[in-house]
Amino acid sequence: MKKMRNSMKVAKWEIKRNLKNKTFVIGLFLTPVIFLVFFLIGNLLDGDSENETDSTTVFVHDQIEAFSSLQDTADMYELNWDLHLTDLTEDEVQNELENNEDTAYIFLTESVLDDGIVPVYTTDEIDPYFSMQVQQLSEPLQGMRIAQLGLTEEELATISQGVVFEDQTSVEEDATTRESEEEVAAGDELERIVPGIFAGVILFAIVITGMMIFQSASLEKKDKIAEIILSSLTPGELMQGKIIGYFVLGMIQVVVLLLFAVPLALWQLDMPIVEYLLVPETLLLVGIAILGYLLFSAIFVGLGATMADMSTSSNFQGMVMMLPFISFIIAGPVIGDPSGMIAKVGTYIPFTAPGVLIMRLTTLEEWPWVEIIIALVVLIISIWLFMKLAGKIFKVGILMYGKNATPGEIWKWIRS
């Protein structure tokens, strides 16, 4: 109990000391600003290219003379389309698609009026909203289908008034089965990706802040205040306090990041991000991120205590510093094949587990619970182990003035 209170004092001190430090505060806001700048630059370039190509080119193979009503509908909804008529058949289109960008082909054949399915072919690169926009066309087409039945105007009015609701939904499903499925899938994906990105940002921010522990661990030594501090608390309490303190600083960084990112995302992406975030999955992902922080902070605090200061770090210490970034290095193969060999192996190695787990859980539709649980157990045991080791190293290292410890010495401290 007293132990915890002492650690909290240290944590509070570390937080206060950093928040009063100009360099830290500037860094705190610089990180999101850099994100923002890159985002805006990316957006600017994107915007340029959009202006050049201007609009989506849509070719209509029209056998039912619906082109003009499609044109009207497109105008009515202010769709950014270039509508053209074409004589190409469905077989020939494939070739055309490969050589063009942002182009779609719509085939209005007699069968459309019978079964209500409109084949649509698009190039790989297409306006992301195209599949939604194309739905608007179902309206005039549905009108034509009804008209085709040869009803009187009164009957027509009755049908379009009374059954319009039901009809439209069925048509919508009919007309673009493929697209609407994709649409749903995309929504699902976002729902998974948002908590994943959130957890990733947390992991990234607190690991970066956690690296400050590295410097902080040798600070008492550098400023020769170690013995004074240790006359009031134990090395273990000091170490714990630092880990907690830098965790909170990391969270402050996350909050500042989110203050910039969330409004921007809401404004730019037009998605219910907050809704996607408030799901139980977020809890697990954030939990994994926190475990990742605990692991790396234990390693950093132990290692930091073995050095006189930052500028004297050896190759060995530099290599250990790189550990958290392994998961970024293997990000490509893991996201590409989230059930593959690299992803699975990465899940069980404690250093890569947090990053890889977050990446896999965001990309996989079905969560591999057995793997998750095993990975978490491995992770928690490693954290416990590294905390113990760090405690031993820290205790000796913090009182070694002006000298860098060799790996051999560190090993001796661990064994003692």
């Binding site: 004092k9 020769k224 004074i228 006359s231 003035y401």
Partner: protein
């Protein structure tokens, strides 16, 4: 007087070198106890063992009025030999942090910190960053930090190193004042003149072993024989023949005669031979400083005195 700290049979070695051997002493309420010795004698090692920064190979350290085995950290003030402060923080912030770590109420700590800053001529530096302070000012802040929480036991390792004479006096007065108010003080130093003026008891250590332990008065009567300093051109051999002279040190025209224990100063002066050239004559007890130099340079003055007493 009430004992606050007892050290018994302390042994500690680094690799194959024995740093301290069989060190035993105690520190009592309201007294200044000094650990004296040349550099590398084992003063700091002893203190670090007491503070739990190192663990002794053998021996026991007992804090009286304390239940349990843990070091009663919040009752102890400690100024280590290797000392410094966080650089980029304000003076008041660090003082309050140090007091907070000792569980001392913050409002009281703030009050006391202000008083002490004023006392040590640091008024108005509360909001100055530590890195802007001079070395001496930093030393003062460290000292304030070690006494802010009204410790029962104050351990000062070389408190005077790096201080100018004015600040030394200031520290000396404050340490004396604290002891008079009941604080038990253990201080280590190699500045004999300062210690001689202030300590109640002393423990002299050489090569990790006890050399002298006792009250200052006891030590002085027991070890500090009279010495006679004579300015004038005299032959050393002649001076050595004077009765009750243990040995003579001569440098230019100055001769120092180390006298045996138990001399009668007046009687001894009367018996001086007439052919001694005297421009100036001084008769006084050997100072702690000289005893210390003697030990540090391994001369045998003390040994002789010790043997005679044995």
């Amino acid at each position: 007087m009430e004992k606050l700290l007892t050290v018994e049979g302390l042994n500690k070695s680094f690799k194959d070198k024995q740093a301290i051997r069989n060190i035993s002493f105690d520190v009592r309420k309201g007294e200044i106890m000094a650990i004296l010795g040349p550099n590398g004698a084992g003063k700091s090692t002893t203190i670090r063992n007491i503070m739990g920064i190192m663990y002794p190979d053998e021996g026991s350290i007992t804090f009286h009025n304390n239940n349990g085995k843990e070091i009663p950290r919040h009752k102890i003030g400690y100024l280590p030999e290797e000392r410094g402060l966080y650089k980029n923080v304000k003076v008041m912030d660090i003082l309050l942090y140090l007091a907070d770590l000792k569980d001392y109420p913050l409002d009281k700590a703030k009050e006391r910190a202000k008083q002490y800053l004023q006392k040590f001529d640091l008024e108005g530096t509360e909001n100055v960053a530590v890195e802007e302070l001079s070395k001496g000012m930093g030393q003062k802040v460290q000292f304030i930090g070690s006494i802010l929480h009204e410790p029962e036991l104050l351990i000062l390792d070389e408190p005077f190193s790096g201080l100018d004479p004015v600040s030394q006096e200031l520290f000396k007065d404050e340490i004396r004042h604290l002891a008079d108010n009941g604080t038990a003080i253990l201080l280590s130093s190699h500045q004999m003149n300062l210690v001689e003026e202030m300590c109640d008891r002393l423990f002299m250590i050489q090569n990790g072993q006890k050399v002298i332990y006792g009250t200052l008065d006891d030590v002085k009567t027991e070890y500090a024989n009279f010495k006679c300093t004579i300015h004038g051109n005299n032959d050393a051999a002649m001076l050595e023949k004077i009765s009750q002279v243990q040995r003579v040190e001569q440098k230019d025209d100055t001769s120092i005669l180390f006298l045996e224990k138990d001399i009668q100063p007046t009687k001894w002066i009367k018996e001086l031979p007439e052919n001694v050239v005297i421009n100036e004559l001084k008769l006084n007890r050997i100072s702690l400083h000289e005893i210390f130099i003697d030990i540090a340079t391994n001369k045998n003055l003390l040994k002789e005195a010790g043997e005679e007493n044995a």
